[in-house]
């Protein structure tokens, strides 16, 4: 097992990465303060891993909340179900919330932990590659609103993250690929060597070579932890983690949550950002080709859906959190491995990408 510390002063926490971790009670107990524990999970994950977790929590008073599976249920309404359970069982503010699931469960569980009695302890057990390399690092929690993704939330750090490589065995290929989209992103924004490693090793990851997966998880978490340590609440460099996300969120919102997986939308959005970076004169045609090609090898979508025209894109992108006074701001690439901070985008250039890239 490797332990990676996310350095955030008195909010620092460890990420445990390895195999067979769910069965190690001491990983849980070292950060649980009081008897009451609630496990939040979903209908897909519960039959696979809930019992393993409950077996490790033998000495605690445990309640479980099993939510439906999917981004479309990441709403205040379902977070309220968590509050209802906690209150009806008289959970105190010394209680601990465990989020067992992918990014959606992590975001909702973390937000519920942040808000219940103004903050209780929480532990994240990410069960998808995407959640292990992205959602579990950095303390972003929250829910969607019909008018925008992740619009309601909090910055709230867990006590620890348990990233058990074994849980990826049950992940379907589509979910694995969606996770790889974020893995590729770390290479693109700040780690050219890692990007090149991915070009060489992508097939090992797709065939679930455990050594390759563990390396990719650790490099991704390391990159993200370094960025988050520098800028916890996203006033600067942290925004670079949003490469492809402004386009991606527009795709997710515009298609209805649940049509695209988050990582799929990010893959498309990153290709659009790469295309726009080329139009700015920063990336070469060959760079863009390399980027699109790596996503394609993961069987990820790389072009925007036909039913989202540029007007709708602009409308949806106008509510992005990076915007200032209504001006759309994006992360672009100076080169592979070097991202920009959020920059104001010339609308005509943006329209070129929206109307041309991936359109027949």
């Amino acid at each position: 097992m490797n332990t990676l510390l996310v350095e955030l002063g008195d909010r620092s926490y460890p990420i445990y990465i390895g195999a067979g971790l769910l069965n190690q009670p001491e990983l849980y107990t070292r950060c649980i303060k009081a008897k009451q524990v609630v496990v939040i999970t979903n209908e897909t994950i519960a039959p696979l891993y809930l019992n393993k977790v409950l077996n490790s929590l033998g000495n605690f008073t445990v309640e479980t909340v099993i939510l439906p599976d999917g981004e479309q249920f990441k709403t205040l309404e379902y977070v309220t179900q968590i509050f209802d359970t906690l209150l009806s069982h008289k959970f105190s503010r010394n209680a601990t919330l465990i989020a067992l699931g992918g990014g959606v469960i992590g975001d909702m569980g973390g937000f519920a932990a942040a808000c219940y009695q103004r903050g209780i302890a929480f532990i994240q057990i990410p069960t998808t590659l995407l959640a292990q390399v992205d959602s579990s690092v950095g303390g972003k929690t929250g829910v969607n609103h019909p008018l925008g993704k992740n619009m309601i939330g909090a910055f709230y750090q867990p006590q620890c993250v348990i990233a058990d490589a074994d849980v990826l065995d049950t992940l379907d290929d589509r979910q694995l690929a969606a996770g790889l989209a974020e893995v590729i992103k770390y290479g693109l924004i700040r780690d050219k060597i890692f990007f090149e490693w991915l070009e060489t090793n992508i097939d090992r990851l797709l065939t679930r070579d455990k050594v390759a997966l563990a390396y990719a998880i650790e490099q991704s978490c390391l990159n993200k932890a370094q960025v988050v340590s520098e800028d916890e609440t996203e006033t600067g460099v942290r925004a670079t983690l949003n490469l492809g996300h402004t386009f991606g969120h527009a795709i997710e919102t515009g298609s209805g949550y649940g049509t695209y997986l988050h990582g799929e939308a990010v893959a498309i959005g990153t290709c659009q950002a790469a295309d726009l970076s080329r139009r700015k004169g920063w990336l070469t045609d060959a760079d863009v080709e390399r980027i699109i090609n790596l996503f394609k090898r993961c069987h990820l979508p790389t072009t925007p859906p036909d039913n989202l025209n540029s007007d709708r894109f602009l409308e949806l992108m106008a509510v992005d959190k990076k915007n200032v006074n209504g001006q759309i701001r994006l992360i672009l690439l100076h080169s592979i491995g070097v991202a920009t901070l959020p920059i104001d985008i010339d609308k005509n250039l943006l329209l070129e990408t929206l109307n041309t890239y991936g359109r027949i």
Copy 2:
């Protein structure tokens, strides 16, 4: 105008106390970063003060949300109305939220500001004595749940608080008295000299002598600011501010939100806590008499409602945030001016107070 700084490191903020402050645009503008401003208020306050505030915000893009007036509307549902307005007007995370109203508006506005895009700037303009001396200091924000008061929320500090003494002119007598309940609390928990000043000057406060009111507001905010600076997230001494509140919250929840004003419920709860402190051997009969008498001079209720029996009290008190592993914990008084930290309470002694104090 006096300025009192609440010291919380990089979350420190000023409280401006004085007359005619609502009309001073520079008080607002010095802590507004970007053009978008939303003012949250209620149907009672809007006709009285909204235009004054809007006149001071001439250079900004301002939206307003006018909520119904009352504790019974302090719910996630009404906070969602705020999110709807912010999103439908494409407010970015550089926007500023102004909460213009009493404690309910301050708590809801603060919570909406804490959660919108994971946190936007907010300014509090408390319009009741209670909000000026209590809710506006310390960053507690949140909403109620049918199963418990303030159960969903966040610690979130404003950019500044504007406490304009002029707004108390339109406060009705019942609201003024409810505010005095919290003012008296500061004397009881940590400032015997202030408690004695209140015994001497309570009639000046009830007749709205501006000099006396300004002094009482400042002493209250000073006391609270000192406590909050020592313990922002209530891991220790901050809990003493909850004197009378565990009983009080049970009374509010048990009677249905809106029956008692918060300060009225706290007055009753403080008398119950005083009675229990006497049974512990800490307060004398004369001490308890002095406390009850001061509340009575404010025309505040001092005995629990007949329809809340001790079983129901215990049930409601069991969900209090101070409890650990289901054990009820209370703040009591060692003497007038000296509070305990939260202590485990012997159930029989608690039952004596619940069954005897104020019961015929």
